[in-house]
């Protein structure tokens, strides 16, 4: 009896492991700059299950993009992974060489970047740029790849796709180009799509189209999505889970509903309050600036800007407190001995 129960548990663990697409343990990345070494990522833990949509939220410089670039092995020359591990589909990617990366990128990991206008090669036809990724990873003839790229553009609801495939990037509008970019990223049906601020450069109506498309693709193909954004509105629309980054750390992580309605970390709450709404007459900014990451504080990074700051916040790393199995946050307010444990109310 007990034997069978433990075997069930084992098989549950096995499926959990099989379902796990991406695991990041204690990822630490440093960037060399003329002003010193920037500690861009200071021990990131992140997991992503197959088919799941995770939003990585935070302000500029918090380390969102560096996290994405680490996952795809595209860190700039000045940056280096100095600690931690990244596993993609149970493979440790830390020591991947160019060949191994090239098998993964474009094929099993697709990427969409912020600025579609500058992310396409200006002197190559859009269709050829999509066909190129298919030719690199699939055994397709030139004609077959070209045909497939037209189908992909159609799939992205680009009107007159055959003619469009023959055009150059500068003949496209921004929104159309971003949809073409998505076509390129999902051409080889990746297990993970990393979208780094995919709608930031677009105007609002076009943003909605692109988000619809991402949602639809996810529903149809079951690929996982790592969405990097600073727009909480987008997060609410598309993500299953959210991880909030601040000063190179993940300071809160949880299901989208819980995190947006009952944020545990004062920074998350402040971020939400800072999001503009129609009813507001003025923008509510978070006072202060993020800490200098060439010389990060030993305690909580948000200490200097936090309304609830206590003396303990300055003393060493803040532990990750679990509110429940899914929701966790690095804030001393969650310590059982802390009376004032409702930071979200009065921000």
């Amino acid at each position: 009896m007990s034997e069978s129960a433990s075997s069930v548990e084992l098989s549950n663990q096995a499926t959990a492991a099989a379902n796990q697409l991406l695991r990041i343990d204690q990822l630490t990345v440093h960037i060399n700059t003329p002003h010193g070494v920037v500690q861009a990522l200071r021990g990131i833990d992140l997991q992503l299950r197959a088919g799941e949509a995770l939003a990585l939220v935070g302000e500029s410089g918090s380390g969102k993009s560096i996290t994405a670039l680490s996952i795809s092995g595209l860190l700039p020359e000045s940056a280096a992974m100095v600690g931690g591990d990244i596993f993609f589909a149970q493979q440790r990617v830390n020591e991947f060489d160019q060949r191994a990366w090239n098998k993964l990128r474009g094929s099993r990991i697709g990427m969409v970047f912020q600025n579609p206008m500058s992310s396409f090669n200006p002197s190559m036809r859009v269709g050829d740029q999509i066909a190129e990724v298919l030719r690199a990873h699939r055994d397709l003839s030139k004609t077959a790849a070209r045909l497939r790229s037209v189908q992909l553009l159609e799939r992205m609801r680009i009107a007159d796709a055959a003619a469009r495939a023959h055009q150059y990037p500068f003949e496209f509008s921004g929104g159309m180009l971003q949809r073409a970019m998505i076509a390129m990223a999902v051409a080889c049906e990746p297990q993970l799509l990393i979208a780094d601020e995919p709608t930031t450069a677009l105007d609002v109506t076009v943003q909605a189209e692109v988000l619809d498309l991402l949602r639809e693709l996810r529903r149809d193909s079951g690929m996982a999505l790592l969405l990097i954004t600073h727009d909480l509105g987008i997060v609410a629309q598309i993500a299953d889970r959210v991880a909030v980054m601040y000063a190179g750390q993940i300071i809160e992580q949880g299901p989208v509903g819980a995190l947006l309605h009952a944020p545990a970390h004062p920074y998350t709450a402040a971020l939400q309050a800072a999001a503009p709404t129609i009813a507001q007459d003025f923008l509510q900014a978070i006072p202060g600036t993020p800490p200098d990451l060439t010389n990060p504080p030993s305690g909580c990074g948000f200490y200097a800007r936090c309304k609830h700051a206590m003396r303990i916040c300055m003393d060493g790393a803040v532990p990750n407190f679990e509110l429940n199995a899914q929701h966790a946050s690095r804030c001393w307010l969650l310590h059982p001995q802390c009376k004032n444990s409702e930071p979200s109310v009065d921000v």
Binding site: L74, W101, N102, F113, F120, P122, V133
Partner: protein
Amino acid sequence: MWRYILRRLLSGVVTIWFIATATFFAMHFVPGDPLSSERAMSPEIRKNLQIKYGLDQPLAHQYILFLRNMLHGDFGISFTQQNRRVNDIIREHFPVSALLGIVSLIIATVGAVLWGAVSAHYRRRWPDSAIMLLVIVAVSLPGFVTAALVQWLVLALNRQWGFTVLPVAGWGTWKHLLLPAWVLGLSTMAYMTRLMRASLLEVAHADYLRTARAKGLSAHRIFFRHQLRNALLPVITVLGPAIAAITTGGFVVELMFAIPGLGRYFVEAVQQLDYTVIMGTTVFYGAFLVLMVLLVDIIYGVVDPRIRVAR
């Protein structure tokens, strides 16, 4: 596209007219004329010759006569070479200059792409520093100095090895072409190398190169299809001035290497104030350069689709 070319050609005609007029008057303001030489000449003979060549007419009249003949494509007969028409001089000697120029341009362009790529690849390491130092030397040396140095070196080499590795002067075989073409293209190659390096490094940081890497393409394909092709655009822009530099540089190199090209005749004509040859070669070179610059602009459109459509 055709309208664009037509418009460029029309403005080219105006340019050539301007060159011709400026040269015509500048030439006539230089003291002396084609008939003044060391040889003593009696005033009567001189007078007769002036009448024969129309040099006794007022300058304005000579100018109009010249323009009318030029429109008919006739540049007249040389003053210093007996019974040779200027058109024949151009026809016989320009192909030599053109061959020299083309080979030299090819050496310069291919060399610049190669060295620029090596330099960019080893950025701030010793191969880069070495190439950039050579670039400065090559840009600074005038053509006649390089020519003399290379001739001296190759002569020494020929003597050392006891046979002619490469001839240092003359014309006839492909071997005769190598040294002058290399010397002629050297400074062009040098500054194009520098441009190529800067352009490759700039493109290296472009967003679309990150996209290319994110697509998992081979390093080979990323370099040639995405980086090099876009980095070539600024280099193509300077092809026009480069052709001009090689054309005018050819005058000196042809003299130094005793090559029977048109440039040599041009220099000799200026020294002897051979009016008809000066005018003929100047107008011809002017027209040639106008056409070359137009050709470069058309090539630019082929490589960069944005320009093609914008027209």
